[in-house]
């Protein structure tokens, strides 16, 4: 193979590009943020326009416990990130497991809330505008929690079988970025649904 590289003298030092995982996740988060924005706008737009109940102020209870669990999981995933960066795999597995558990508790909490709303308060997607927008917005967030939990569980499987090592710290960081986003969205959804909307 007789080839001569297409080469010129350059004065740059080391050629370093940003991580594609991080750029891609930032892009995905931008897209997801736009989707959530549309659902939040719809929620706010229809707030208080219902003529028949149930109304938010009658049936919604602030999910303190689930919120604390979900938001604190962001801190634990940071501990996990730091652990894998330094190669402390046992600590990583511990903090990662705690994150998954906290996320799962949040999901169960949401499930119990929905059970109460559907069975006792007879609020469904079909009932009124509040039902339509509430289940869509909170459900959209919950589905993101489910996706996050699935990905973290797969990662946990790799970690337990020893396939995940310290050199994969960056991939873990990308996944953690997604989880931080899911938590940040909950801050917005919580504010809109349970503080402003109640």
């Amino acid at each position: 193979m007789a080839t001569v590289p297409l080469e010129h003298v350059t004065h740059e030092g080391e050629w370093k590009m940003p991580s594609r995982g991080v750029v891609a996740m930032a892009s995905l988060i931008t897209a997801e943020a736009s989707i959530f924005t549309i659902f939040v706008v719809a929620y706010l737009y229809y707030l208080g326009r219902d003529v028949s109940g149930p109304f938010p102020k009658d049936v919604l209870e602030i999910p303190y416990f689930g919120t604390v669990c979900l938001l604190s999981s962001s801190g634990f995933i940071m501990l996990a990130e730091r652990a894998i960066e330094h190669g402390r795999m046992f600590a990583f597995r511990l903090w990662w497991m705690v994150t998954i558990l906290l996320g799962a508790i949040f999901l169960v909490d949401t499930g119990m809330e929905w059970y109460k709303l559907i069975v006792h308060d007879h609020l469904t997607v079909h009932t009124n505008l509040f039902g339509t927008t509430f289940y869509s917005l909170v459900g959209l967030h919950a589905s993101h929690v489910v996706v996050g939990l699935l990905m973290m569980t797969v990662t946990m499987g790799f970690a337990l079988t020893g396939k995940l090592r310290a050199e994969h710290a960056e991939r873990v960081k990308v996944l953690a970025l997604y989880w931080h986003f899911v938590d940040a969205v909950w801050v917005v959804v919580f504010t809109v649904v349970y503080v402003v909307g109640k």
């Binding site: 080839t3 010129h8 050629w15 940003p18 750029v23 924005t37 549309i38 719809a42 339509t132």
Partner: protein, 567 residues
């Protein structure tokens, strides 16, 4: 034009892999299989382009049926119901199955080559995005067969491409046609978002050594801008398709006006997507002009930083103009003034671009090959399209002409006169790179002149029935309105364009087998894709390139006077 009439490239032969390719020719089945499982950005790019060209013919055929129907007043060539389906499918197909895929196809093919990378950042995501978009196209067209389901005869969506609520709700659109429409757009949106993520990661993380952001050719810059727009503008469409499906399948009330839902909210959500979408389509067209005009003017692009700034500026301004599609819905006078002014603001960065292209041509040694002819026509038509755009941005004028053929003429001026013309230019310019053969220049000239004549006969004339009050989307009209002759002229122009497109198709097939050998650099160009063989090997570059200026091939061909000396 053959390759012999162009100056021979010096020096670039050095970077080409001369290893003879494997002589074993696989079976037909192996060939098909290799294209289906491919993750090569070049093959996926070609798949995107071919897929879009097929749908271009389909949607063009639909337009021809529309024009036959409107040839005479009280014509009964097709029924009003079929007419509604045809304009819905024509619009939806042209935007989602022709425009976006063909532009993504060129981007897929060119962005990694231009930045000296061996593939996109995520090749498998790339393949996924293509196949889900292809699935979306099949799904949309399957509605012709499966639209009504149990009731027997098929039908297609008939709610116009903007699908205003509450027409799309269960109460008014029973059956499944709207579901096919919504799910197809949802799927194509997922594909678009995947591709956008891929472009951004590629442009920011895959550049070859020495390729700083401001040494990138303008095309990757514009694709990065477009990708950002796709992320923030196509996502709302995805969101409101999800809402529509919640309404239709779960009994929600987002756009159900009988239960307090709002039709206006759909209009806002749709145009928050719909207007930036125009720029998602037109910025790649600008990107082609940015590459083609300098090469055929034999000058470096004028005002590179201004071009970058103007492109990014257009992207941001385009996010705040959507309600100029909704002046007649009724807004406050503040709303009207805001959207009028923000829309007019778009003309500043686009004006910068237009003048920069003119300044690039100014004093250049212009070669009138087919890509350049299309680019020059694009410049004229883009300016006129912009001028009618400014007219329509003025809300009182808009109230008079809204939903008339004046609007139809305006946006076809943008979509055909600017975007389709630049797509044709890009096909003539990069076909030699993709296939290794030149497109026939004589057929190209025929294609160009028929296209220009047909375009102007159709769309210049179309403004007039609009001003005379002819609304869009009507299946027929009264003979005493004085629209008959005008509509006939419009239809005749449409048929001329159809012939032009058929010439292109013939040229594409004919030149693939009989075209002149292109060689690596038939246009004597300056960007990296011309430094490798035509078609490039799967790995693009035998040795990863290193660049020191915006025109690496110029540096190579003119070592005595390299661009890099002036940086």
């Amino acid at each position: 034009m053959g390759t012999e009439s162009l100056p021979t490239a010096q020096g670039i032969e050095a970077g080409i892999d001369r290893t003879p390719a494997s002589t074993r020719t696989g079976t037909y089945l192996e060939l098909v299989h290799s294209w289906i499982v491919t993750v090569d950005h070049k093959r996926l790019g070609i798949l995107y382009i071919c897929y879009a060209l097929v749908f271009l013919l389909v949607a063009g055929f639909e337009a021809m049926l529309i024009r036959v129907q409107l040839f005479f007043p009280h014509n009964d060539f097709i029924s009003p119901f079929t007419f509604n389906r045809l304009f819905t499918m024509h619009g939806t197909t042209m935007v989602f199955l022709v425009g976006m895929p063909i532009l993504f196809g060129f981007g897929n093919y060119l962005v990694p080559l231009m930045i000296g990378a061996r593939d996109m950042a995520f090749p498998r995501l790339n393949a996924f995005s293509f196949w889900i978009s292809a699935f979306a196209g099949l799904l949309l067209y399957y509605s012709f067969i499966g639209g009504v389901g149990l009731a027997g005869t098929g039908s297609a969506p008939d709610v116009a491409w903007f699908a205003y609520a509450p027409l799309t709700e269960r109460a008014f659109s029973p059956g499944h046609t709207v579901d096919y429409w919504a799910v197809a757009l949802l799927a194509s949106g997922i594909g678009s978002i995947g591709t956008a993520i891929n472009f951004l990661a590629t442009v920011f993380c895959m550049r070859c050594k020495g390729m700083t952001l401001f040494r990138m050719p303008l095309l990757p810059w514009l694709y990065a801008t477009v990708s950002f727009l796709v992320l923030v503008a196509v996502s709302p469409l995805t969101a409101c398709q999800a809402m529509l499906l919640i309404d239709r399948y779960l009994g929600g009330h987002f756009f159900d006006t009988q239960a307090g839902g709002s039709a206006i909210l759909w209009a806002h959500f749709f145009w928050i997507f719909g207007h930036p979408e125009v720029y998602v389509l037109v910025l790649p067209a600008f990107a082609f002009a940015n590459e083609i005009i300098p090469v055929f003017s034999r000058k470096a692009i004028f005002g590179y930083p201004a071009m970058v700034a103007a492109s990014v500026g257009i992207a941001f301004i385009s996010l705040s103009v959507w309600a100029h599609h909704m002046f007649t819905i009724g807004m406050t006078s503040f709303g009207n003034a805001f959207f009028t002014l923000s829309t007019m603001l778009v003309s500043i960065p686009t004006g910068i671009k237009t003048f920069n292209w003119l300044a690039t041509i100014w004093g250049g040694k212009v070669r009138f090959a087919t890509p350049m002819l299309f680019s020059i026509a694009f410049l004229f038509q883009w300016v006129i399209a912009g001028l009618t755009g400014i007219m329509l941005s003025i809300s009182p004028w808009n109230w008079q002409t809204h939903n008339s053929y004046f609007v139809v003429a305006h946006f076809h001026y943008v979509l055909v006169g600017a975007i389709v013309f630049m797509i044709f230019a890009a096909i003539y310019y990069w076909y030699p790179k993709m296939t290794g053969r030149m497109l026939d220049e004589r057929l190209g000239k025929w294609h160009f002149w028929l296209m220009v004549i047909g375009f102007h006969v159709t769309f210049d004339t179309m403004h007039i029935p609009g001003l005379l009050g002819m609304p869009r989307q009507i299946f027929t009209y009264e003979p005493d309105r004085g629209w008959t002759l005008l509509n006939q002229i419009v239809s005749v122009g449409g048929f001329i364009q159809a012939i032009a497109v058929l010439i292109l198709v013939y040229n594409l097939v004919h030149s693939y087998f009989r075209g002149a050998e292109a060689g690596p650099d038939p246009w004597d160009a300056w960007t990296l894709e011309w430094s490798t063989s035509s078609p490039p090997p799967a790995y693009n570059f035998p040795v990863e390139p290193v660049v020191a200026s915006r025109r690496p091939l110029w540096d190579l061909k003119h070592p005595e006077d390299p661009d890099s000396a002036f940086e």
